[in-house]
Chain length 401, copies 4
């Protein structure tokens, strides 16, 4: 057999469980959350239900209470969770916690796993990832990092400003990225585990952004002589960028999985509405203009899913997959946004409303094309590697000639 795209019965059964849980427990809460906002109390309630339904934290390691599914199996489950904007939070597979769980699992010490990973997998606490900085600091170009960590007695003093830190407000701790400062320490960046009650770690205002559904906002965070003891260094001193790579490719792909589910939801809503809508003496879904929108959505969803499965399989097999996950992230984010946009268009005036959910998905999905590497940044890196390969081919040919 050349390939195998079949889903094992166990994964298919779990997928159905997630599907049913989302339909029965999550979707009914959407309008309440859209008008009143998401709270931590509601999150806890939803997560308790997800645990009871046996669908909690499918991607997290089994030893820490997660479902222990392979990364390519998770592709199927996280798409299903993403079918509601609240689903990933309910299943504790939402950003940024899901990525932090992966990072802590791979790079954390025993103490760190006990103190941070366990309660995080269990949903007892939330976390954030403090990387992005206001200009001229680290945005699309991580090497522009300005936050500094200086050696001090028994630990480090961190100073700097972060912003657009998703979920910071209410997080129990943050993973903080800073550049080492001083001659006596290894060059490079380091990751630190910083408790939210650290007096040197201050969460500031929420930025007023296009999206609206997450918990804990997109916040400014300031670090002022923030002391972090040595055993709260995550991974190795000076290897912060390498550790970030551990988080990066999988986190990109879990975004793709979840947003694929949201895009499918938008499409389903729009098509269900179109089959019940009379227009110009026809059913809306029978008009060629509408058929074009519907078919293009179907194709985009299929293409994105095929790429996500392919790239997730590579990750699950232990391949580095940085280039493949870049291609997948660009395609899936652009495709998912196209699908949502067409769905809004297909639903007409009502499509712009949050009553029909479409308006909210439209708002929430926009930044997916920017975070975890904007489309254009990935394209630069994809092109550079393609050029390198082309140069190698040319050199090979010339060597043989």
């Amino acid at each position: 057999m050349a390939f195998d795209f079949s889903m094992s019965p166990a994964v298919e059964q779990q997928r159905r469980r997630v599907e049913e849980f989302v339909a029965a427990e999550v979707v009914p809460l959407e309008q309440k959350v859209f008008t009143e906002g998401m709270t931590d109390a509601l999150r806890v309630e939803l997560q308790a239900k997800a645990k009871a339904a046996g669908v909690f934290a499918p991607q997290a390691p089994k030893e820490f209470g997660g479902g222990g599914f392979r990364f390519d199996e998770s592709a199927v489950l996280l798409e299903e969770a993403g079918y509601s904007l609240l689903g990933p939070l309910a299943l504790n597979c939402a950003a940024p916690d899901e990525g932090n769980i992966h990072l802590l699992h791979v790079t954390g010490s025993a103490m760190q796993k006990e103190k941070y990973l366990e309660p995080l997998v269990a949903g007892e606490v939330r976390s954030c990832f403090s990387m992005t900085e206001p200009p001229p600091g680290a945005g699309s170009d991580p090497s522009a990092l300005r936050t500094r960590a200086r050696r001090t007695d028994g630990g480090w003093l961190i100073n700097g400003d972060k912003w657009l830190i998703t979920g910071a407000d209410g997080a129990a701790f943050s993973i903080v990225m800073a550049l080492n400062e001083g001659d006596d320490v290894p060059q490079g960046a380091t990751m630190f585990l910083v408790d939210a009650d650290n007096p040197g770690f201050v969460v500031g205002e929420h930025l007023n952004t296009i999206d609206a559904t997450g918990v804990g906002g997109h916040c400014r965070v300031s670090l002022r002589d923030c002391f972090v003891p040595d055993d709260h260094v995550l991974g190795e001193v000076g290897k912060g960028f390498q550790s970030a790579q551990v988080r990066l490719a999988p986190a990109r792909l879990t975004h793709c999985m979840r947003w694929l589910g949201a895009a499918r939801r938008a499409h389903d809503i729009a098509v269900e509405r179109a089959v019940g809508r009379e227009l110009f003496g026809s059913t809306l879904s029978d008009l060629g203009m509408a058929q074009a929108l519907i078919a293009e959505n179907e194709i985009d969803l299929d293409a994105a899913r095929s790429m996500i499965w392919h790239a997730s399989w590579a990750i699950a097999e232990g391949q580095r997959s940085s280039e493949q996950s870049s291609r997948t992230k660009v395609f899936a984010s652009e495709a998912a946004c196209r699908v949502v946009d067409r769905s809004v268009q297909l639903a007409g005036g009502m499509g712009t409303s949050e009553e029909l959910v479409l308006g909210r998905i439209y708002r929430d999905i926009r930044s997916f094309r920017i975070y975890d590497g904007a489309t254009e940044v990935h394209k630069m890196s994809i092109a550079k590697r393609a050029a390198r390969r082309a140069a190698e081919r040319t050199a090979d040919r010339e060597a043989r000639a």
Copy 2:
């Protein structure tokens, strides 16, 4: 001389006045409105300043207090007003009042002009246009109108439901579209002027939509045995669809003018930010990926403007221009949305924030591709006319042969 694209000195001078007014008086209020919402008090204050600056209601007839500019001259001025999302309201050239002013001016009786048009041009009151209905009523297909007007003594009784009625909350009156009912009345639809304090006219909930900046919401409106006296019929009984045509093509184009300004604003913000942003050892605006976004914006803005000027000139010359305004509306709405989307992308994480205004323009502009004829509906009508012309050419050729 074949064509003339030059702007007369008077129009250019007025354009500069609008530009300066928007920069000095309107832009500084944006963040306050974005966080606290637009109020009628603020609208009145802004409009008083616009009057003082000599830039108020440029498109409205002079005899009623407007600027009296030709429609193609207004293209230049309304683009400038649209440079801030609050500009059109400040200049009283925003939808739906601007379209209602035009409709009242063309079709209103002397009494109606005195009672409704004068205070509307002066900004003493706001109005709304009650046309769109919830499914299965009149949306993209106006012929599906379900609201009914029945003859009664000295007037009409209107019954029906509307929704997505922009600006209804707080409007002093509404133009209401209803289908005549009964054998004793002309077939067809009729337009009525309905006072907001009419007990049969009830404004309901605001729909929770993607956009956020207007006054008066997008509301449900219910008409329950709403009595309207005969002299409040706007235009002729049974000619409601014809009257709607009076409003339609120009209103489409003024949307294009205003949103062209907003798109240019988004582009300017993004490019100004890009020239001051260092990334990957270069200025952001020097990176080819960014240059592509910038250049595509410049081209879209130029193309949209050229079409808007062309179509506005045709309207100013008294041409019916229905097909040309359709083509222009499709192109300008799609192009303006592309420009705003690229500007958000160019500005990166910050582009999704309302602090930088881009996030808000992104939200507000989305429905432009749907209202006043969704892109797909215009395309159907454009294609039908093109097919008719092709059939005529074929018939001509065969007749000659």
Copy 3:
């Protein structure tokens, strides 16, 4: 394991063989064929070399002399063959013979397999598939079939006109699709095996089309009282459309495989040229505008390949896959054309030339978006099925409520 995208060592080894054969034996002949045209003598020579290299007819059944690879394995091998425009012919996996081989294998009688399939797999003869008719006959809408088959003693008399019949000139036989005529025969269409020397089967002029590389042209074919004996009916009488389905989905996908290879070739040529080209003080491949073209190609190739693998696996597993192959055909054909177009653009003036091969690929690939179901026709069918599913979901929900 959830999925498996790994290639078996045997397939990977065979892929390399094809790669080496194409590079060593096929590519060097391209310019000669582009200027002088493809001949049957050259085809025979190339196919002999392919046999010697052990790469001949990978997709054809082993018992008839083919490689016997599974359909999803063939995806990998036919992509490699398509790397040269002459590759599929050299490997005898080009249209229309490849599709006819599959059809004969599935539906042919023992006699038909001996007389037609064996020499066809061996490359001793070529064939064609006579389905498409000039307007108002069967084009995108096969049900418009006008060619008629009437019962006669011991067989059928076929009358009708076909056009755009690829490879007809020089084919040893044709599979001809005709509608049954008369009350005494089953309703529906029937497929017939017609020898080229049948006096009732006349191949007419070659149409002058955009593409240029095939053998045997795109021809008009006329059938005039063309007698076909009963044992030359292919499949069942009256089941011609069902038989066509046997050919359809796989044939669509083999087109995708081959053209994916051609698109990859175009991309490789353009990028290799870009890494060696200085422009504006930089290497062309380092300019952001060029990087965008390169990265978009990489993404399109990856997405198309992921879909093709997915759909080919479904076919190999015996799934009907009609909808999936439709989605894949639309995406892969549009994507491959985009890749070739960008490659031409990247190579500049030289990209329009056949010296660099790009100009010829650009010409040859255009009709891929039209044949085997134009993009728009597939979209209609995709949308209809999506609408049907949405209606079923709604009905289910209502049934449960």
Copy 4:
């Protein structure tokens, strides 16, 4: 009056003359030329007819025998000429002669006008413009010019290689661009008038390109110690790039005008066919999928025409318009190619054929997105200027603050 898009009666009358001439005299010759190729004899015959019809050389100066129309008037007439691929040649307003006429008129000496311009306007001879060089010479980046001109007694000796020189085979003379060499001459490039019978000027092979209809091919040209006397310098020594600017912006726009006509022709053919074609129980032009293609064509044609008129007016008014003509060239070339592509698609299998003309237009138009500045090169220059303006706005604001 703000704008004026009306066409003067004289221009409208001339437009009709061109329309009728193309329909009556040019279109009937198309199939002959498509199969047998264009010859100089046929060109002369067509041009004689155009003279007789009073439509010859509309854009050329009156004093030299042209129509003397303003540049924006010519926009209307050249679009009409472009309605047939043979029209511009018939009217002697095709590239490269049309651009050379303009350049000679603006920069030529009295002798040069008599010897070169007069017979060129009259169609007695053809010419070419030798600028583009094979890599690593001048392509998209003119500053990479490698051809050298060295002072010699009474003139210059030119050495270098050119390629893709359109119309070189059979041209009576060429304008040749070369870089000055030596210390005793002004730095920079110079333009030379070189007779085709100059022994140092050798026209080589025709490149085998996607397009097919022009006269004189796209040739390699080699200059080997090619002596050109001083009075054959066109414009000033060392000011060759400035002179090229004279030709550049107008030549870009005349390409846009002609190709707009060709795109309109493709659209007309496709829509005329669609109104007469039954498919799936409907007329093709009534299917929504077809309507989308038709409407998008109508919109692209309108947008391109509006931009072309706008930019041509600016040129006619003596504005430099380099940026505006760049925007217009990018949009018009991309739009025209989209229109032709959609027309091919709409016409289905027959759309790929030259019988229906569409296949030939598809081939001929492709390089328009590359020559006279590839899309990407123009975008770079457009973005740079936009960035410069943004930087100036920022500086202004800071200066005022």
